[in-house]
Symmetry: C2
Subunit: 452 residues, 2 copies
């Protein structure tokens, strides 16, 4: 049994309700993939160590001067899109899809997706992200990259309503992914309410209920989409999710900026199995007009997490940046500087994102029994000093580059700002050599047309 | 004569109008404090070098794999407020001023301001900021920190309408600062239209005109302030600036989120000597309801720059973050993803901020004749790769930690991410030892009351 102790660290504590706080001078004891105890530095953890206190000496990670936080969860992304970073700028959502992204995605191949996913995993791990919730094509390749790099992932193979064959293939990959590795979970991934028919959403929901999958999809991304749905079908996207059984099966809704007041009452009925992922940098950059109505969603009991969406629009997979944008844009949206406080934000970023990943009893909290997914952050640089409040540093001043050491499932995957699981220069070289193939539009065509 | 060459670097080119671009494989030739030539790598710069090509060998900075950008300009800050970083969270503007910041500022002493300013200069230089435009108390101490650390600054000693003695002291310090050092300029610093009387603004404007100073002040920070000004005085803050002669003298207006449509016609008349500094992270965090109307200001010919405001609200002095927030919030404000493009944003961040600093013919452009204020940025890390567009990296993915080397006035002040001019550990230790004295409210009192 592998044992590890993070010695003499400051621990961020995020209770289910109330104020977050830090506890100084703690040891975090890890056995195999789990946290087994958090004790005052130097004291014995007692019986939590499975009755083997006299066993092998544990590996020691020196946490002096560092803040231990739950490894970050990126609750909605399309990781291989890092290959298109910076290649679709200054466009509104229609042109972004129809003139750039969907034409570029004609170029997807398993190899290109794998190379992109490896780069994405490198970026996320170095920035303290230990879990990502993905929605993309060739998800088996993304899974392989996740397994190789040591990160945790929930993967939804993307599909549109097209051929019967494509649908069945997506379902089968989802089933296979679930069996692949302890760090990999899988969800069903219909693209959106406007690209997948109600019949196919019904079929998705039936499989989800029968086989215990969640459904991860885009819905009510903008208020324009909601209005278009009402105009064309007489119902909001959330009503579509209800009548097709997707909400009953359990959904992770990406974005939801177009969720309207009456939708909240619907979502409340399925709150125990519904989550929404908010990625506000994207909403501002695409001038979508709204951000996710987080206050109303939380009041309805729906879990809300934070994500980056794909780097073809967010430009980074930096979850610190995404968390900060949630705090800032929610204060702005509600016209209330006292809302989305430090504690509100930290809870969303940890417990909320873990729930959005379908892992609320596994990750997002530094307590015994949870997976040892931990980021150690150095707050000693000038931009975090003096340190009146580490919680404020987490939300408003920390940079991804302040992450020093990262554990996933008890394994050190980043040590002293270096990846332990992969050769970063090789990953970068592969991405650079293939980058031009992704953005080449000379073949023409498009994988889909945006017309919600 | 000191010579220096930055060899084999990619150079960001920001024309006055049109698209920005990068030029690969360039040498930047520096003599003393100025750029004298930018040439293809390896070619001779010719006669620009003052006719001394055969002189001493220049110092060589290897720019391979790096992007050279004009040193960033922080066009509005209160640098010593880093001492209160994280100590005034989750508050609306009234409580932020009246319950936290102005009561804390009872504790200001020359030493505490000096220590804070040194830390601020360290943070800014390490993040590629080569000029800051400051507005604070004990400005002589800030000047000393700027001179010591090698950064460039425009300093405005802050004053309220209080005693005759205070006003005269502020005017005298401004005059002294102007004579201090080639890297230091000075502006007159009345706090705001709501804390300085019209009579004192008139007197300020007279001195400014007579002695060639600009006036740096807060005005129309929120639309609430504008409405309060109309309710109390029958005029907008911009009209106050006009009738007191401040606009005629030449003003740098901080924030201006409450500038209304009719104010733009007034500002247009003084556009050749008016600038506005926008710090949007602050506007969202304080839930101020508006951001700076940059589109209208630019149309009126007014220069607009980017700033961080003080770290007691912005939490960092990270100008990259401030630039990104300008791009995102301007797209949001105008509901137009095709506005505030990469080129628009880069121009604002370089030429615009330089103009806001009153240094438009000295800094902000990498061309012969300009000061050699240069940041070299490493775009090779995963979060910037693959690099389809370095301009997009500048605006949407670069982190301050990607800055490797910084020159101010031809002197290397940051080399391989380390300050050359100061002992960072000493600066941090001084700040940490005094931090508690700044946030101590036990003495009671307040330096001012917010009631615009």
């Amino acid at each position: 049994m592998a044992r590890l102790v993070i010695r003499n660290v400051v621990v961020l504590v995020v209770p289910e309700v109330g104020e977050c706080r830090v506890e100084e001078a703690r040891d975090i004891h890890v056995q195999d993939d789990r946290i087994v105890a958090v004790t005052p530095t130097g004291s014995q953890p007692g019986s939590q160590l499975d009755g083997r206190p006299g066993g092998d000496e544990p590996e020691v990670v020196d946490g002096s001067g560092l803040l231990a936080v739950p490894g970050l969860v990126n609750s909605h992304t399309h990781s291989p899109m890092v290959m298109m970073r910076g290649a679709a700028e200054d466009l509104a959502i229609e042109d972004w899809f129809n003139r750039r992204v969907w034409p570029m995605e004609v170029n997807l191949t398993p190899e290109r997706v794998r190379v992109g996913a490896r780069l994405a995993c490198a970026e996320m791990l170095l920035g303290g992200v230990t879990t990502f919730v993905d929605h993309y094509f060739h998800a088996d390749q993304i899974a392989a990259a996740a397994v190789e790099t040591g990160i945790r992932a929930d993967l939804a193979p993307t599909y549109f309503s097209s051929t019967e064959q494509d649908l069945i293939a997506a379902f089968d990959v989802t089933r296979e992914l679930r069996e692949l590795h302890p760090r990999i979970t899988a969800s069903l991934g219909p693209h959106a309410t406007y690209t997948v028919s109600d019949d196919d959403l019904r079929r998705t929901a039936e499989i989800a209920r029968a086989e215990g999958f969640r459904v991860h999809l885009h819905a009510a991304e903008t208020d324009g989409q909601t209005q278009a749905s009402i105009d064309k079908h007489g119902v909001t996207p959330v009503q579509v999710l209800e009548r097709t059984g997707v909400l009953d099966a359990g959904a992770l809704i990406a974005h939801g900026c177009g969720i309207r007041e009456p939708d909240l009452a619907i979502l409340e009925r399925y709150a125990d199995r519904t989550a929404v992922a908010s990625c506000p940098k994207v909403y501002l950059k695409l001038a979508m007009g709204e951000v996710t109505p987080i206050k109303g969603l939380l009041k309805a009991g729906v879990k809300v997490g934070v994500g980056t969406d794909g780097a073809a629009v967010h430009n980074t997979l930096d979850v610190w940046e995404a968390i900060r944008m949630v705090a800032l844009t929610q204060k702005q949206r509600e016209n209330d500087a006292e809302w989305m406080t430090l504690s509100d934000t930290l809870r969303l970023a940890t417990r909320g994102s873990a729930a959005a990943a379908g892992l609320s009893r596994q990750v997002g909290v530094l307590e015994p029994g949870y997976q040892a997914d931990i980021a150690l952050v150095d707050l000693s640089a000038p931009h975090n000093q003096p340190l009146h409040d580490p919680r404020a540093a987490f939300v408003y001043s920390v940079r991804a580059a302040d992450v020093v050491t990262v554990l996933v499932a008890g394994t050190v995957v980043v040590r002293d700002r270096e990846l332990t699981t992969m050769d970063l220069q090789e990953v970068l070289a592969d991405a650079q050599s293939l980058a031009h193939t992704l953005v080449d539009l000379s073949a023409g065509g498009s994988i889909q047309h945006y017309n919600p």
